[in-house]
Subunit: 325 residues, 3 copies
Amino acid sequence: MSNPFFTNSGPLKISEIFKILKIELKIEENLVVKDVQDLYNANKDCITFFHSKKYNQEAKKTKASYCITTQNLKDYLPKNCTPIVVENVLISTSLVTQKFYPNSIEDEYDASAVDIKDTTLKDVVTAGKNVLIGDNVKIGENCLIGHNSIIERNVQIGDNCKIGSNTILRNSVIKDNVTILDNCVIGKKGFGFFPSRNKNLRFPHIGIVIINENSEIGCGSTIDRGSLSNTEIGKNTFLDNQIHIAHNVKIGENTIIAGQVGIAGSSIIGNNVKIGGQAGISGHLRVGNNVEIGGGSGVIKDIPDNSKVMGYPAKSIREFLKDNR
Amino acid sequence: MSNPFFTNSGPLKISEIFKILKIELKIEENLVVKDVQDLYNANKDCITFFHSKKYNQEAKKTKASYCITTQNLKDYLPKNCTPIVVENVLISTSLVTQKFYPNSIEDEYDASAVDIKDTTLKDVVTAGKNVLIGDNVKIGENCLIGHNSIIERNVQIGDNCKIGSNTILRNSVIKDNVTILDNCVIGKKGFGFFPSRNKNLRFPHIGIVIINENSEIGCGSTIDRGSLSNTEIGKNTFLDNQIHIAHNVKIGENTIIAGQVGIAGSSIIGNNVKIGGQAGISGHLRVGNNVEIGGGSGVIKDIPDNSKVMGYPAKSIREFLKDNR
Amino acid sequence: MSNPFFTNSGPLKISEIFKILKIELKIEENLVVKDVQDLYNANKDCITFFHSKKYNQEAKKTKASYCITTQNLKDYLPKNCTPIVVENVLISTSLVTQKFYPNSIEDEYDASAVDIKDTTLKDVVTAGKNVLIGDNVKIGENCLIGHNSIIERNVQIGDNCKIGSNTILRNSVIKDNVTILDNCVIGKKGFGFFPSRNKNLRFPHIGIVIINENSEIGCGSTIDRGSLSNTEIGKNTFLDNQIHIAHNVKIGENTIIAGQVGIAGSSIIGNNVKIGGQAGISGHLRVGNNVEIGGGSGVIKDIPDNSKVMGYPAKSIREFLKDNR
């Protein structure tokens, strides 16, 4: 993931990172890292993190030079990757991420936004009344933006896109031929923080939202941007109204999701999936390709390719119908 | 259903329809049809469609002269109605509907909308700041419209109605004494399309939304307009916040629906029904009069009059409570 | 509860109240009451109401001088409290409340709201475009308000608060360091009314919404104000997107509620509670401290302190997992 939106204040010296994490220095003074990335996206200039055995396959193959992890997990890491053992991986990763991306914690409204009529985009975009555009927004040819919508700074929109009215976009890349209907909020920080008495500690969200070609997002939907990876909607995937997609979720191509569905953080949904209305998918799950999930289902474990499931907790639809005859 | 909003480009010659459907011509050249309608609303000048055995009662009584249907279903049709046998009824119906109503596919924002202060309605309506009104909007006496709301072209609003702030209405007829609260989107096209790799094919939505007298719609709700029939909310029916009503749904009178309920496409809900919070009703179902549905229920089959149901799948509340003692 | 927002037109003579309730007068002419309050908050100058055995503990201790109740319940009341026996407690209470607070029935948009640039708050608040502010709004230091948001009359906001874009606040008190994200509606009347053929009778909502220090409310959420008590969110409690909190709900401190959760009217949630996505809590329940409720659960009875529950209906998570192995 190259991050187009948040300014990286790196490189950081490893010694500086150790200081932030209150770890005693046992390594050479001048080593640096340029970025913080997840296990999969990290390269040799990066520091990464590994907090759950669930990700041991990604850990074994990471290219990162350093990894924030625990005593129990550190032996999964390859030789190229130096473990940095801490008590709480996510809090430590949060502290390091904030150091790289100090302005990724808060989600203040974009004060740079001005009426599109006062920008050069007025000649490119067909826009309704009171449309606001932030700094450094790029919009392709033949796009429509409805009344009162706000395209905050750095957003990129492709060709032939239709954005509805009262919709807010931030930290997002919208590819060609995408339709986003009314009253959506796309690209807000996710619901990620460390619970702490009196004042929770927010987790930085440096990921973005990517919506690929030909997709459609229904009215009143919310799609949160990722924390350390992106939230992504595949090509030609259609979402109905009032859907909530949490941070880091990845949805494949040609997938169809009916109204009021919710997908919790970091879950991965395959291609050609159909999800019925009001279904919920727990966090950190994998739903395979060609899966059908019945309306109202509650999915709490991984679903293999080509399955049809229903129920709460979701099981094979045959079993569900048999049990409920 | 007479459609007040979409321009009918008919009549069409039957020969032209056969050409669209790539069917060989076996009938007289000059026969015409004036409109496409569902089985129930079609008259002798209409073409209709029949795609599921579920609608065989309506099929037997249709007054349409032509019906797009399948080999298996065609024998349910009465003598007055000539079957047009196709592979996929809904795709064929979509093609014919688009020919009648070419501008019903897309849901672009209403570029005709201007500030109410620049219209003659400014003297009739008590309106907040930045209220936008499209072409040919009719609003009765003694109505209120809150800040930033958008009443798009062709909408009709009766007397004594209260529309909240940040709400969007399109393709809708609102009768007298109706209250619609903030942040609603009423009258958008439904979530109907034909899945197709790379680019789904949208279904035309020529139906409207009708909200009858004395009803109330809660904040953040979405009510989609119908595809070939209307979406309709009966008199004195109250909807709480964050409710989603899909296309073609019909809800009776004196019905009460609590927060976050979702009703999938084409279902019919009776009079005096009570639906608890977060319940979901699958598509193409009939829920009778005087039915009570417990909060959180998932209704996946028809519910007869005077029943009390709960659970997922919903069953008699007595059985639900016994099973869960 | 002292009510900062609705004007109390009391005191009322008891004889006048009896007339409203069509009860024959058997008491002294000149007795008065100054306010209507719930059982817990009423003092000796108040009239209260008692409609369900569920509240018998509160009834036994009420300090009110009069209580609207039924023949069956009246004997729970203490000696200091004179029962006023009626057929339907809630309808009678509604009539009395309307007499005290005649302007609490309807929720019309705030016509007093003007652009913040035309108010003295322009020098105090960092505000986006098209922000509207009603009469008598108080906002502390160092606050942000996003584009198109509406702060209606009488709202009080503390220091260091961040209000997103397209958000509407009314009848609310927001304490310091609170974050409210985009597209929320906070402080609307609850979904409380008396069903009646042809025209439901609305219940007055004289309660407010209180959001305490350090809390956060996610995008697209709705929090309704109370009817006769307040709706309250405790300190450092975080709500994710698309959450619905109904009237009179009280949520404790340090509680975490994931996306699309709904909490029905008058339920009380403890401190340090975790509620998973899409869970629903029925009305008039008590959820204890340190409770964990799994995603998708439907809670239909009280949950004691320190429990972990899941399922629909929710039961102990151990039992849920065993039953669904």
